[in-house]
Chain length 108, copies 2
């Protein structure tokens, strides 16, 4: 089915359609992706701090997601260590920032 064979296969599900929105939706619709972006929204974090922020998610997935997000150009690893959003990533983050307000109204 030509899916992610190793850690180098970036064609997240919907990418096959060629529609960028699908690729993006697929990337964001993976476990922890949205959360990672959210946690990095205004401060870079070290891999460990990010792990803590993400409710102790296993480093395996986190690392996998960080790699994907880096390859997508949304996240970068600063030279002094620590993950942060790229300008593009920050832009993306702001795109779904209204979610915060929505969530508050939605409550649950």
């Amino acid at each position: 089915m030509a899916k992610r064979a190793g850690s180098k296969n970036r064609s997240v599900r919907g990418s096959r359609t060629g529609r960028p929105i699908m690729a993006l939706l697929d990337l964001l619709g993976q476990r922890w992706t949205l959360r990672i972006l959210w946690e990095l929204r205004d401060t870079p974090l070290t891999s460990r701090a990010l792990r803590t922020a993400c409710d102790e998610a296993s480093p395996t997935v986190l690392q996998a997601r960080l790699t994907e997000l880096r390859e997508a150009g949304f996240v970068e690893l600063g030279e002094g260590g620590g993950y942060g959003l790229t300008p593009l990533g920050r832009e993306l983050c702001e795109t779904f920032m209204p979610l915060h307000r929505f969530a508050e109204r939605w409550k649950k």
Copy 2:
């Protein structure tokens, strides 16, 4: 670890924190959730049509997501059949509509 026991456990990961944004991020950060909302963005679809639109995703997950989305109040099953967004769901959808434009610029 007190996670989803059956199909009736709605506490998607981050909900424990009590922060609505986490619950929302967790719900949206599950496979197919974003995609489903996207596909329903302007037309209700039958379960089958939705399946087709979602690149033939397995009915098992689709059904699970639809249930969650219904319980969250974002999606509803019309009396004449077919799934559609609730007013709240439409609102949520519009919240991340800018993603479309972003994705186009992002290309890949």
